[in-house]
Symmetry: C2
Subunit: 263 residues, 2 copies
Amino acid sequence: MARGLNRVFLIGALATRPDMRYTPAGLAILDLTLAGQDLLLSDNGGEREVSWYHRVRLLGRQAEMWGDLLDQGQLVFVEGRLEYRQWEREGERRSELQIRADFLDPLDDRGKERAEDSRGQPRLRAALNQVFLMGNLTRDPELRYTPQGTAVARLGLAVNERRQGAEERTHFVEVQAWRDLAEWAAELRKGDGLFVIGRLVNDSWTSSSGERRFQTRVEALRLERPTRGPAQAGGSRSREVQTGGVDIDEGLEDFPPEEELPF
Amino acid sequence: MARGLNRVFLIGALATRPDMRYTPAGLAILDLTLAGQDLLLSDNGGEREVSWYHRVRLLGRQAEMWGDLLDQGQLVFVEGRLEYRQWEREGERRSELQIRADFLDPLDDRGKERAEDSRGQPRLRAALNQVFLMGNLTRDPELRYTPQGTAVARLGLAVNERRQGAEERTHFVEVQAWRDLAEWAAELRKGDGLFVIGRLVNDSWTSSSGERRFQTRVEALRLERPTRGPAQAGGSRSREVQTGGVDIDEGLEDFPPEEELPF
């Protein structure tokens, strides 16, 4: 399986006051709802704004530190990763995709424009919403066409996570592609590696049992195919790079780089 | 000092065959030159292509692993960080900004367009060239205007790097902003925190001693100001998050998230 890449960059407004709580085991959890609007070019060259609400989670000391400092409406930059969680409820399998924050910073909001939703919750206009993923397809892509003849493909991506000192995990992400990207993606097969750059979007529908259901998925802006799954190549992502006892940073000082760049 | 954020994402073509060598201490070094062209919108709404050549470095096992697998012309995705290095040559201070790769993958090049430079070296068209930085200004910004009246500002950014098991380092990056971004940036002062999204570009000039000099800097696409330098807030970036003995991943399973999203 391709070693995963899983990076999310968001700038949005806090739609609500952050929600701090503790697990029975005493672990602090801070859940934020970040809200923004992306400015997109439509087919006819016009512009349209698409809104989003994404749940961002901080844990432990990070949660406790920011819990008191953040409030509704504040602008926040988050760098993090998509985190897939699955559980059972009344015999039914449930899952959710949210963002685990690795890096968070409140931002200066002078001159920034906000919109307000029907609940009076703020959304940042001209927000930032970008995802970089590398993983493997969990199924063959499904290609369909809208009544207007626009191609749309749905892909399931398994993103592998290896973090120092933590168990290996896999995050399952739904990806949607449109037009020529959809038709390019339709050539792929279950198990293929795939690199995705996209936006994180919300989707909602009513289930057969009449319940309102939500899904967070990625709308693809760019797709690329890795030729040698890093797993075969031994994976170049491993953090612990053996260097024969030489401290990488030290070993370099005695080795000035050439000046000439190959223009 | 604001704790740093330092992420680079590139997709380009290998302009030359990678250059593998060893330091006297036996550390493998693989230097790649990745070349691409960015498609930019000019003021009058037209499009123009701007080419770039960036040096990417891999070390140790990563260098040895990829050294045999990569060749001139190949398409490669790199995720990494900017690395500033400084040394002395004939009494003159020299410095260089290159990219240290954390993650590298060759990509399928079917249907991809290349351009060729005067040396026959390939550049990927519609490449990927994106940088995310958070740091502090090393000096007050310099604002100037071109003869056509276009504002341009030059900024010096110090990006702090704390990596587990390595010494704290600082990378110095030159940033350039244009038009309203330049005039916004001119309000900032030495020491201010700054978040930058931009492109990595090459600049070259002839020094007073008649020597050809090169510089890699960031052309800003978006600038934001963090309100509370994370240093005051204790920095939310620290990898080692204390959790009172609870393994973060375990502690969560007994805590199913709410369904309702606050739309």
